[in-house]
């Protein structure tokens, strides 16, 4: 019996942390916020680590989930401004389709940047056009769309299924095609620039579809499941960073003639933050194990529901413990606070995941 990361997973975690500390320290994040452009060299370095291709599918189990969890935790700690989640899921989707080997290799190695169009405005559709389709649709909340080379988006391929969801099809769009336009949206979380993407008559061939038309629903569910876990791992990482930064601050900041860390009111806040942090940690590791073992899929909802609330609490308490300085733009606290807010709602918010947990429970007990 062993609970926790294996030695190999710990090694990868360490090397990813080293990469973050060296190439994506907080100064880098600050610079990115002023000029949101993904650095090509960082993109290549992440590619070289092989992290994008960590997750694969083997029957009803995933492999490499805990490796990815370890990396996402470190990315969260660093507030990494990079479409890592989209890169891992995009690479995973490409790995499911043998005909996409070339693109898979390019994305995996960091030569092409991929993102995913998470939110549809209305119902994007593929209409039959000659041998292929014409794609029409509008999306919002597409991370890093301006820098991306490829955008993965779900469309309904008309006439391929009995219901709209059966027609779900995952399409690879070339961001630079004239039928694709990208419009920046203003967002609170400045570490992840988001865009509205309009697709107007994009010509889709067989080559641009992952698996087959109508095969997208399974991929979408996998994206949501893995996405919920990886977003949780990112929140774990940022909560970890914020707690220890805050504790350090309470050791240097003095009021009433002493370090504020001596005040029990602050100690108890820090202890509660630690409790939420470590509880998030065991929930996430357990859920990663469950996905790798093909068991207890609801454990992802357990992790996401808990971690979402915990990360928002922890980052909020961190601002409070910093006092006035924590409310300034200059303090980094708001960066963590805003990113936690965004991740907490992504891939199902607390409400959605709690509802899923209770549904699963009621099914189990027969009600």
């Amino acid at each position: 019996m062993y609970f926790g990361f294996s030695d190999e997973e710990k090694m990868l975690k360490k090397s990813f942390r080293d990469l973050m500390e060296k190439h994506a320290p907080i100064d880098y994040v600050r610079k990115f916020i002023d000029e949101p452009k993904v650095s090509k060299s960082l993109q290549n370095l992440i590619g070289q680590q092989g992290i994008l291709g960590m997750v694969t599918r083997n029957g009803d189990r995933y492999e490499g989930v805990l490796f990815a969890v370890a990396a996402f935790e470190e990315a969260g700690k660093a507030l990494l401004p990079f479409p890592l989640l989209e890169g891992v899921l995009g690479t995973y989707a490409l790995s499911r389709d043998e005909t996409k080997e070339d693109l898979y290799a390019e994305v995996l190695e960091g030569r092409q940047l991929v993102t995913i169009a998470w939110h549809e405005n209305g119902a994007p559709k593929l209409y039959r056009q000659g041998e292929g389709y014409a794609a029409f649709g509008s999306f919002h909340g597409v991370p890093f769309a301006d820098d991306a080379d490829r955008i993965l988006a779900f469309f309904q391929a008309q006439g391929t299924g009995m219901t709209p969801s059966e027609e779900t099809t995952l399409v690879i769009l070339d961001r630079r095609h004239p039928a694709v336009s990208v419009h920046p949206l203003k967002a609170m979380d400045l570490t992840m620039p988001v865009y509205r993407v309009e697709v107007a008559g994009y010509p889709v061939t067989e080559n641009d579809i992952i698996l087959k038309p109508g095969d997208g629903l399974g991929l979408r569910r996998e994206f949501e499941q893995l996405g919920a876990l990886f977003a949780s791992a990112e929140m774990l990482g940022l909560s970890d960073a914020v707690l220890y930064k805050t504790v350090e601050y309470t050791k240097v900041r003095k009021q009433f003639g002493q370090e504020i860390g001596k005040f029990q009111a602050l100690k108890h806040m820090a202890a509660d933050m630690y409790l939420m942090l470590e509880s998030s940690r065991v929930a996430i590791i357990y859920a990663g194990w469950a996905l790798e073992s093909g068991t207890e899929p609801e454990s992802v909802s357990i992790a996401k529901a808990y971690t979402s609330e915990a990360a928002m609490e922890i980052t909020g308490m961190a601002i409070q413990m910093h006092g006035g300085i924590g409310y300034t733009w200059e303090s980094d606290m708001h960066l963590y606070f805003k990113r936690a807010r965004r991740s907490a709602a992504a891939f199902g918010d607390m409400f959605a995941h709690r509802e899923r947990v209770i549904q699963t429970l009621l099914e189990k007990v027969g009600g």
């Binding site: 609970f3 073992s293 529901a305 007990v365």
Partner: protein, 392 residues
């Protein structure tokens, strides 16, 4: 990560489950109002456990234990929680005294005391807290003075569970009043039938009365009745404290999960007066039930994590405070939710109440959880100072 059970562990679990289902006392907690009856049931249960080989599961055979591993012990406690069996009347003997002697006792002490815990012949109680030494336990004022070949103990202990039934008591007493408070305490083993020991039961808000006050009035015990070194009792007491805080988590989770499922079943029956819908159909309650289940599920993961640390011989440090803080606060919230769901029915108690008043008991007892073995506030201090390194 490896959480799969070996076939042997699985078989052990199945055998334990079968035995427990056939032998565990049912509805024992409803005897809360009748102390004598409850003590009798628990004593009989303790003997049954011992005879069936379910006492001292991981204690070496040479001291009368089963000589199995910590894993079997955890499995058994988990199964006990699942059927709602009581842990017995000798928890202090089994979970406090025995691990302490194994770690710090002399060979003679091990041979003298451990086997009698294994056979349930000697019941132990714990004389730690005092009326003026609760959270600040190290300030305890019970004195022990050496007089020739005997220690003479004077003082008062409180919250001593089942002292009326106990044969022996672990007593922390001050042996050097000049030294700093943590450095003048010795860990004594005192027979309860020694002249000068008197016990007075204390009724709790849960209606149970296993708690007692114990008075020591010129109690004379032999010179060698202590564990470890003189004046190093604080260290000895702390040896098993973290173990106690950490190792019971999986068993406890099973108990809470059982109560949770009772509440879930009730939520399908009860109607919400304001809307006419069932509790389980109301999103408000669904969310709260899910939240409670999630907290208990995560408690189980914490339990697995700490077991893994014990099994793989890693040290459990002050992180054990996390488990104590987590489970007690989660239990408290669960009790509150159960009462909220029962609404006006929540006021009924025992056989007038829903589910025979089990949820009322859980609700009331949860108020003790956040106080005993170090209050939630003390646990937060430990986490802040010893885990996070915040200044004292």
């Amino acid at each position: 990560m490896d959480l799969t059970e070996t076939p042997e562990q699985r078989e052990y679990r199945m055998r334990a489950r079968e035995w427990l289902e056939a032998n565990a006392p049912r509805n024992w907690e409803l005897l809360a109002e009748n102390y004598d009856e409850m003590a009798k049931v628990l004593k009989e249960w303790e003997v049954k456990l011992a005879q069936a080989g379910y006492t001292g599961i991981s204690v070496p055979k040479e001291y009368g234990g089963q000589g199995l591993t910590f894993m079997e012990e955890i499995i058994f406690y988990e199964e006990m929680g699942r059927v709602g069996a009581p842990r017995g009347i000798n928890n202090i003997g089994k979970n406090l005294l025995v691990p302490t002697l194994l770690a710090a006792g002399t060979e003679e002490q091990k041979k003298r005391y451990i086997p009698k815990v294994m056979t349930a012949e000697e019941i132990w109680c714990q004389g730690y807290s005092e009326p003026n030494a609760g959270s600040d336990l190290a300030s305890l004022s019970t004195r022990a003075v050496l007089d020739g070949d005997e220690w003479v103990i004077n003082g008062q202990k409180i919250w001593t569970s089942f002292a009326s039934e106990a044969h022996m008591c672990i007593v922390l007493a001050r042996t050097n009043p000049e030294a700093p408070k943590h450095k003048g305490i010795t860990y004594f083993l005192v027979p309860m039938n020694t002249p000068g020991v008197t016990v007075r039961p204390l009724k709790q808000m849960s209606a149970k009365s296993e708690f007692c006050e114990v008075f020591f009035d010129n109690v004379r015990i032999p010179k060698d009745s202590y564990v470890g070194q003189i004046n190093e009792g604080w260290k000895i007491a702390n040896l098993t404290l973290t173990f106690e805080r950490g190792s019971g988590t999986l068993g406890r989770t099973a108990i809470y999960m059982k109560a949770f499922h009772e509440l879930l079943a009730l939520s399908k029956e009860l109607t919400v007066a304001a809307t006419g819908r069932k509790v389980i159909e109301e999103s408000y309650y669904r969310q709260k039930l899910a939240k409670s289940y999630i907290e208990f599920a995560i408690l189980r993961y914490h339990g697995l994590n700490i077991c893994s640390q014990i099994v793989n011989n890693q040290k459990i440090g002050p992180e054990a405070s996390l488990q104590k803080l987590y489970y007690s606060e989660a239990h408290k919230r669960f009790g509150e939710l159960a009462m909220e769901i029962e609404s006006e029915m929540a006021n009924y108690w025992f056989d007038s109440a829903l589910v025979k008043g089990k949820l009322q008991l859980s609700y009331l007892e949860s108020r003790a959880d956040t106080i005993h073995s170090g209050t939630s506030q003390i646990q937060r201090n430990i986490i802040a100072e010893r885990v996070l390194g915040m200044p004292r």
